[in-house]
Symmetry: C2
Subunit: 779 residues, 2 copies
């Protein structure tokens, strides 16, 4: 594939040659003309297989021609070891260790020999090479047509799947067809625990050091299944990888083992026109989820083999059928955009952990960028998608946060707080892992981001059980933190020395986003207390936490006293108390190759100017829209748009949503297009390190929250759809208070509910009661 | 010695038992009752010998009893290697290497054997052990009266000197007297290049890693002199240590060499009442100052041996006689304070480099704290002493800064500036060595601190040659930096994202200290340009630098437009634009053992509150007093006094000076007392890592600038003496415009000049012309 220049301007994307990238309704397909290393690395990410539990990068089974870089990786969500993180000056409280995701056993390896000739993309003639992702079936496919140096022509069709139903399973179906070759075929199917994590010393966004975190426990073969058990050096977590190869056409010569490696050799014969198929099943288990991961691995593998490939494929398709039905979202007459959107939603499903041990890493399970850490991305960017399509997954993400609440309490103490909980900025199991606290631990807003998600979950589901079990405790503990993190000055409550979402402006006083989010969070803590007050269970929680009526009143009092920076003249909300005393950075004078700025300028330079990496005030305009007049929102949007570089992938989607809200639909379309194609076209130049999951969530939000104007408020569901002139219409399905609602936007807005029970909602701010269907003119 | 608790409150110091510490006019003497490890470590610093070029910690020649920790070190000012300094997140522009002072060859070792018994403070009976520093002679002495386990009683008198005249020389005179012993004496005089730097992983103020920076080049003996040449691993700097032992009573058995070590063994006999003396001469040379340091070492050693011990002692005393005459400072009737003051001034002389390769390290040459780096301490705290007593040394310090101006230009570019020079916050030869930029590189004020010193030098000397040669270039380049570091907002010039002197409040906008110092610096750049405009040499400099009249006008314009935070209601100057939006930290609630705060709280905690490590606005009140009314100065002093912890040793002295200025003389005396005894009584608990040179300069400033009210202004010398009621009077001599002036303050103020040439000055703000002598009533 050759894409000359992919502009980050969405409109430019359509100049691409679609002959080379095919986008059918459920299939993203790419045909390679040449195999550049860059393209291979990118597609290891783009076509990776994951299911929220495990992820496998889409590396070639046979490896690459010599000299090619590859990030060959397999990951388990929530399984980690500890890496050193030396601080240049070891100040009090700075972490000097960090949790890091592991590259676990590599079971991708399949080498093919035709007689004495080894199949390799680097030799012979590659007639064609295609890769595709089928999002209805949940499989990826690589199709190769190749002739060896000695003239043996074969075709390969390699399907891969990470099962959404059987989370521990990754499988490869390797199908060899001979065109003209007659003779011996040998396949070496390998399984290696001798793996290291990837590193790149030059990029602060990935790990700077290669490390080998695993030590061997055992390597054994039983019933033709190879098991490798390894243990992390510091955390002592065990991981078992089990591999079984099955082929009707081949005979196994046995499994050959070393301390950390196993290899099965299979042989047979082929004739022109014949096909040989190998099924390679990998089952991964870990000791966080299994008491004994070897036993667990055996049991799961037995089950998998009983089910068999055909049924596994079927289960996958059926799972996805349900997923796509719930996540229905379509722009009429814009198939390319639809496919891109589907790609993003599919990746969210692949990336998101669905148990209490895991959340969504910044790169999902597609790579090692940001070391598998969970950030606010999960709650602010990704959870909103699941909340409106699959609230159980949203709940699971919140349950993960509850599971690390104790870690957040400890972190608060390290940060000098006498009470409350402060969620770590980046973590796997609750310890702060950010090495640079200015754009790490200083981002206190992660606390209010989590509570925002919690409140949204409550608003969308009215799940009082969860709030009583877990939610209220999180609200109280984070609220307590806020009271200790800020203080009164002349009767107003100030929160100082924090960093807002914009990481180019660190450790500021009265970051607007932080203050408004804290106000919302404190108010909701008090509000929820009053809503649930009659429940005996609330009394138990309050007793346990020592919550008093007086403390609840204090939350409200602080919320009322919250200080907000403002600017009467321009109406623009200052990002923080001192933001407008800084000169504006003239972005026109920054050389084009100096973006993203963080890779070319010292942090002090970035902090010296009004220049934003990402949406900050504008994000607040979206999340806390009722705290601002539209005049202020518009003034701020216009202002920040000029000084924001969108060097963060979390930015454009938010600008798109607020543009939609303000009626700037051309802009909204442009921002959403940029977001939708970010990873497919590698516009941030680092998709090789993994997908940008937060942005993917942003793609969904752009349409549903942006164009659709969906909001969750105390008095109900709000829908305020707009339609850009480029679109014929669009349609999406959401789940609200347990039932599905389909919204179709053309000249009209049609709202359909699945039951006849009346649904109260607000359309364009006006209250309606929908029984079955409501249709009205679009504004 | 037993000092139960030394309060940091000066008045409490005088409860000490003076029987144990004697303070004669020139001699600080300490008699040990027990030799605790803590006391030994402290006194390795307190009694160290240095001369601005080399420094040797006062370790016992024979070593310590087993289990004692020692920081055995010998240092050369300006000689360094490079250490790794990994950043937890390798952001753009953060240094990942740093220069570090070296522990060079150890030539202190002298082991004494009486027959088969080895002398050691850990065995036998130590009848007495005294150490003293004679500041008139410039020697330290250790006197020991000891009986061996087998009953051999001896006395040792060990003198040590780092010659101020022959900078490369450190010598030991080791005198053994037998009380009752008759028999063989053997001395092993060692010389070892096998040394490492000290480390302490728990304290961010010293190096966190042991490192061996030297590799052997050669070890040879010639004419009874042992030479060890070593080379630093990264910078390739060579250091030669030459050692010669001379004793009339002993016979040398020769010099025994290894790769990096040499040892001379000397033997003889002794009888009761007899004395054996060994002179051990060490000459250190380095390749930064000598083209060939081995040749240089040989030549210097030859010269030293020709001069001989007696003459060397004489030269030392003569040098010091001159020094003390120029630095005359005496409080009448307060000998203890006088001795403490002398101790501080003596250490300044020992610590200060006097060539272009070196300045004054934070710990002088007495230890490895802060890794031998030069900070603003040199210009703001130490230079003012030399400026008024020995302007040549002040000039040398400025010449050092000129020598690294190119480094400052490069540093400015790394920090994203398009022009100008930004001095690194900590460095040896010009590269930024601070690992934590918030209280490192962000302290842009180092630029204006250096120019402040430069302007002071000009005011005290009117040395136009220096300004034309070097000074003006430094002014222009730093002024250019300021124009790029700040910017106009609504017509006012703001400097943002910098840290002022107070390191508990980092990366702020419009730090008052910074802004006022920049205004002063910009104005003086323009002023000096106009003063020197008629000189052809200025035209040459301007040509070279491309300075135009328009640029000079721009400096003035920016100075005029400078923004200053203010508070109309309280008159207190806000430390920065956002300072007063932070709550005040209640210091009463901080547990006593949590000071210094930086060792017990996360940086974000410290930044969240109004709490100061050190003088910031108050320092500006001293240095830039004409920028404030006395009302504002007083309000600010009162305010900041309450929220300053003085966790920095650079703080109390400044509060003392401003207290004196404001007539709060009791406070001034208390602050000055605290400063004067800081190292002698180890009140900061880390004098073992080295003396606090900045504070020592502050001791001088406290009296001369504080009580004496000396100021250097454009229209002349200002003197405004005050006299605290505890003092009978005081007297000091300063050098101004090339002549000495003696000021005596009692009920009267008497000002004597050494020539009859009339001197114009201001006393209490009134202009006077002094011919020989002026006497008037003290206010």
């Amino acid at each position: 594939m050759k894409i000359a220049v992919v502009s980050i301007n969405a409109t430019a994307i359509f100049i691409l040659s679609w002959k080379e990238i095919k986008m059918e309704k459920w299939i993203y397909e790419k045909e390679y003309k040449t195999l550049s290393n860059e393209e291979c690395l990118l597609d290891e990410t783009v076509f990776h297989n994951a299911n929220g539990y495990l992820g496998v990068r889409a590396c070639f089974e046979e490896g690459y021609p010599e000299g090619y870089q590859t990030i060959r990786g397999t990951y388990i969500n929530g399984v980690y070891d500890i890496a050193d993180m030396k601080q240049a000056e070891p100040l009090y409280g700075l972490p000097n260790k960090k949790q890091t995701i592991l590259n676990v056993a590599d079971t991708q390896g399949i080498k093919l020999y035709l007689g004495k000739e080894e199949y390799s993309a680097g030799t012979g003639t590659l007639h064609s090479c295609k890769r595709s992702l089928n999002m209805a079936d949940g499989v990826t496919k690589r199709e190769v047509d190749w002739t060896s140096p000695q003239g043996k022509q074969i075709r390969l069709e390699i399907k891969r799947m990470a099962s959404f139903v059987e989370k521990n399973l990754f499988m490869i179906e390797y199908k060899l067809t001979s065109v003209n070759y007659e003779g011996e075929v040998r396949i070496e199917s390998s399984h290696s625990g001798d793996v290291k994590n990837f590193f790149d010393a030059s990029d602060p966004r990935v790990s700077a050091e290669a490390a080998d975190y695993l030590e061997p426990v055992q390597c054994r073969a039983e019933n033709g299944i190879a098991y490798i058990v390894q243990k992390t050096k510091t955390t002592g977590q065990e991981i078992c990888s089990a591999v079984k190869n099955i082929s009707e056409e081949l005979v196994s010569l046995g499994i050959f083992r070393e301390e950390r490696k196993a290899k099965e050799i299979l042989e047979g014969n082929i004739e022109p026109g014949e096909t040989i198929t190998l099924y390679k099943y990998t089952v991964l288990t870990d000791s966080r989820r299994f008491e004994n991961c070897l036993d667990g691995g055996k049991k799961v593998m037995e089950k998998i083999l009983r089910i068999g490939a055909d049924n596994l494929y079927h289960m996958q398709a059926s799972y996805l059928n349900d997923f796509w039905q719930k996540s229905h979202l379509e722009i009429m007459g814009n198939d390319k955009m639809n496919l891109a959107i589907r790609y993003n939603l599919y990746q969210l499903l692949q990336s998101t952990g669905k148990d209490e041990y895991s959340s969504v890493a910044a790169k999902g399970l597609s790579g090692e960028g940001y070391e598998g850490h969970y950030f606010w991305d999960a709650e602010i960017y990704i959870l909103p998608f699941f909340l409106l399509t699959n609230p159980k997954i949203a709940r699971s993400l919140l349950e993960y946060r509850y599971s690390i609440l104790d870690g957040a309490r400890k972190h608060a103490a390290i940060m000098g707080h006498r009470k409350g909980a402060l969620y770590p900025w980046r973590t796997i199991s609750g310890e702060e892992c950010s090495g640079y606290f200015l754009s790490g631990s200083a981002q206190y807003h992660i606390n209010s981001d989590i509570t925002y998600a919690l409140i949204s979950y409550y608003l969308a589901t009215k799940d009082e059980d969860f709030m009583l079990d877990k939610g209220f405790e999180m609200l109280v503990e984070t609220s307590r933190l806020w009271l200790d993190a800020g203080g009164y000055v002349d009767g107003r409550f100030h929160i100082t020395a924090v960093t807002g979402p914009d990481e180019y402006t660190c450790m500021v006083n009265d970051n607007y986003y932080t203050n408004v989010s804290v106000q919302y969070s404190l108010r909701w803590t008090a509000r929820l207390y009053r809503k649930l007050k009659d429940s005996d269970r609330l009394a138990v929680v309050c007793e346990k936490l020592g919550v008093t009526e007086k403390e609840i009143e204090e939350f409200d009092k602080v919320a009322d006293a919250m200080f907000f920076p403002s600017d009467d003249k321009t109406k623009v909300i200052p990002q923080d108390g001192g933001f407008f005393t800084k000169p504006v950075l003239d972005l026109q004078k920054v050389p084009e190759d100096h973006f993203p700025l963080l890779l070319h300028y010292h942090p002090l330079f970035l902090n010296r100017y009004q220049v934003c990496k990402q949406a900050d005030v504008v994000l607040a305009s979206f999340l806390y829209e009722d705290s601002q007049t539209e005049e202020v929102m518009r003034a701020s949007f216009d202002y920040y748009e000029k000084i924001t570089t969108h060097d963060s992938s979390l930015s454009r989607c938010i600008f798109g949503i607020v543009a939609a809200k303000l009626g700037e639909l051309d802009k909204a379309v442009e921002y959403m297009g940029d977001s939708a194609f970010l990873d497919l076209f590698n516009t941030h130049h680092n998709t090789k390190d993994g997908i940008h999951t937060a942005n993917m969530g942003g793609v969904y939000m752009g349409i549903v929250y942006g164009m659709g104007g969906v909001r969750l408020k105390e008095n109900g569901l709000y829908i305020s759809p707009v339609l850009p002139k480029e679109w014929e219409g669009y349609e999406f399905t959401i789940t609200y208070e347990g039932r599905q609602i389909q919204i179709t936007v053309t000249d009209h807005v049609r709202i359909k509910t699945e039951t006849d029970k009346p649904l109260n909602l607000f359309v364009y701010g006006e209250p309606y009661e929908v029984c079955g269907q409501l249709e009205l003119k679009r504004r």
